[in-house]
Symmetry: C2
Subunit: 460 residues, 2 copies
């Protein structure tokens, strides 16, 4: 019997984790695996790019979890610089173009298909947005291009458009490279992944770190010099000189191929899957990573969340199922953690606007505490905001802004959300306590106590 043919489109986290896991379960005699990647690299940590650009990580090799050669040694037929240009689902084949050899096209047949086409940085259609010196930071190739640009730049002024995770991480990277950094954020506060009151704390801290952060800044154009290279970013109110411009406005699912093939997409444009990560309604097509929507277990709605840790989990699940095993991905609770210099920023669950959109009535409280016992050296202040459903007291979300020791505390809430705990149940959680690690009441417990009281007072 001929081996089944598994074709993987996209050679980063989700795609190659799927390929590797499938290979672990089935040998090449049973399953032939071909993977197409249009870039130069496989299985890399895109999340590490800001730290490579900032110089705290040697790249790009350190960011590659598994090289093309390692994949090939495990009987995965990996084709780099090969773009998939069409999915012929009825014909059971994909059309590819070899980007290095004059764009030669060919068809490859499949019995099972994995779509892991990732995401692309948002590039609003503004004058100059595609000029040299304007950089996204989604792939290792992007990172290398930005580093080349930094080397070539004559001045040391950088403008980052957008103050989300990528924006603030890139601000830190550019500060570390000796740049004067301006971050332009269209909304009222940076970090729109937080509620505005928590975002205001981030704004304040960024200013303290020497990062000029302009709020309500609607970018109208990237201005270019005589050579066509970016030289400034214009908003409705001002012009910000820039030797380099970085796009940090987030990403969108890269699903043009899937859309052309008629596969089901959600509101964000991400592919819709079932719990086994199969594309909905398709028996032998799976999708995962930054190109899919995931179920938000708190709101019960599908969302697009581009994160390496989800992509890796998706890949495992897909690999198991594509090789005839069984695994599922139940969904997410919306956890994210980031930092800008020594400021740690974390959230999980719903923001106030998400909770409202989901039809929930809730209370929200914010407390200030410290990362360690107040008297212990290195205790740093930390703000914790907590949302709980009225009447039931069910935890809905947590946001944390602080310094060392703040970020990963969000995991406590992530597990509690997954378990459907109430904030009152959380008040008696048996969390690790010793003066170098926590006050005697962990900040999350302090927030849970205040939220419990708020639920009680609020009634319905």
């Amino acid at each position: 019997m001929a081996a089944e043919r598994l074709v993987v489109v996209g050679g980063d986290a989700a795609g190659m984790a799927a390929a590797s896991h499938a290979r672990r379960l089935k040998g090449p005699g049973e399953l032939a695996i071909t993977a197409f990647e249009r870039g130069h690299f496989t299985s890399y940590s895109a999340c590490g790019i800001p730290y490579w650009v900032g110089g705290s990580v040697d790249g790009p090799d350190a960011l590659i979890a598994r090289t093309a050669e390692e994949h090939r040694a495990r009987d995965i037929d990996l084709r780099l610089r090969t773009e998939v240009t069409e999915l012929d689902l009825d014909g059971g084949r994909v059309r590819t173009r070899d980007l290095d050899n004059g764009g030669q096209e060919s068809w490859t047949g499949f019995d099972k298909l994995v779509l892991a086409t990732g995401a692309r940085p948002i590039r609003p259609p503004l004058p100059g947005i595609d000029a040299p010196g304007v950089h996204g930071v989604q792939t290792l190739d992007d990172g290398q291009a930005l580093l080349d640009s930094l080397t070539a730049a004559e001045g040391r002024r950088a403008v980052v458009i957008g103050a989300g995770y990528i924006g603030v991480e890139m601000a830190e990277a550019l500060i570390n490279r000796g740049y004067r950094v301006t971050v332009l954020e269209a909304r009222e506060q940076p970090m729109s992944t937080l509620d505005p009151d928590m975002g205001a704390l981030v704004h304040e801290a960024m200013c303290g770190l020497g990062i000029e952060t302009v709020r309500g800044a609607a970018v109208t154009a990237v201005l270019t010099d005589a050579s066509g290279r970016a030289r400034a970013v214009a908003t409705q109110d001002a012009e910000y000189p820039a030797d380099v411009v970085v796009l940090g406005m987030g990403v969108r699912p890269e699903t043009a191929l899937a859309a052309a093939a008629g596969l089901p997409l959600g509101e964000s444009g991400g592919l819709l899957t079932d719990l086994a990560m199969r594309v909905r309604g398709k028996e032998h097509i799976w999708a995962g990573g930054d190109c899919v929507e995931v179920l938000d277990l708190v709101s019960g709605r599908e969302r697009h969340i581009a994160l390496g840790t989800h992509a890796n989990k998706h890949g495992q699940v897909i690999g198991a199922n594509a090789a005839g095993g069984y695994a599922t991905f139940p969904g997410v609770v919306g956890t994210a953690v980031s930092k800008v210099c020594d400021l740690e920023i974390a959230r999980t669950g719903l923001l106030e606007r998400h909770a409202r959109a989901a039809g929930l009535r809730f209370v929200s409280v914010t407390i200030e505490s410290t990362s360690r016992a107040g008297y212990y050296p290195g205790a740093r202040p930390m703000h914790v905001k907590m949302l709980a459903e009225r009447r039931t007291g069910r935890l809905l979300g947590v946001q944390i802004v602080g310094r060392e020791g703040a970020g990963k505390r969000v995991d406590i809430a992530a597990v509690a959300l997954t378990a459907g705990m109430t904030v009152e149940q959380m008040t008696t959680l048996d969390l690790g306590y010793a003066p170098p690690f926590s006050p005697v009441w962990d900040p999350v417990l302090v927030a849970a106590r205040k939220a419990t009281a708020a639920v009680r007072e609020a009634g319905i």
Copy 2:
């Protein structure tokens, strides 16, 4: 109508939290609160004593959360240096002795009684154990006595008897004071709050930190000099010179008063309570903190766990109930975290011996990972051991030994244990990921994946 009389025995965390919380709910016209404390201080962090002794915290003031004056300003009649010597439950009164005024005795009547008598360091009945220069570190008075002893000592050699939490924390404190430290542990490994294989990692690390750690060391005597002061510790095999000796063999509940009054005690000698922290079978007597046993939610058995974080929670619950409100303490999962120099040590749930004693069949796995993405600066190795019940896959316990970032990760498992999660459910937890905070698979997730596979392979 006369105010009800609430008497609190013991003025540290549990007792004063109970008094304070009761006062918040009821004014002095309704509830008269009298608290007796035999020491000089109230509401202090005993857990902070090693850091005060080690010089990283100014003490003792910094360790006092609320002074006697602050309590008195809130209409709590607090009597320091006043020891309760007898509970007359039928008569509704306690006998006290004034330790500063010639031991004058008197009786105080109560309508409601709170017992928060704490714990005392284990002092085996060995020759010399009570000699000057041998120190427990349970109270601020103990801490001051040890500091005086360090100042008076001529040499710089310290012996710590016992390598549990207090023992390793005191080892660090004495190293920081410039002492050469030897830790004598009777068992096969230090940290018997971990399984021996994880304790071995602690042993190895302590040796690397320059702390001589002797295993299987059965102490036979404290040897004294001509003045009667401790000069060495003898074991069956050797003599260890000591300018100061610290007892780190853990503590026992201080329940002599309760026992004399016929109150119910558990196997450890701790008071037994119900979920409202009432002494079992007693309507108007509550007990909390280091003098009680708590329900271990994983094994379903009562245990004695002396920890400030539990004491504070107990105090809150007792205060609410004693003031006519309502609160309960559901139990613990056995979380503890500590450090010795830069080594972090944490556990939650059951050890292998606990699981066996509870009649559970289980699998255990250990993994090695890092605190951050492997390529990110400051990534430190971390070992995670995980126990899961056979067949059901229910999480039973986690132990972690590592460096920075290891300790508080145990909270993930503490919440999962509380929620009764299986290790397979844990594999898809949405934990905070970014390279400075975690590898793309958090070490706890890596352990959960391995445990899931082990459960599957083990069958029944």
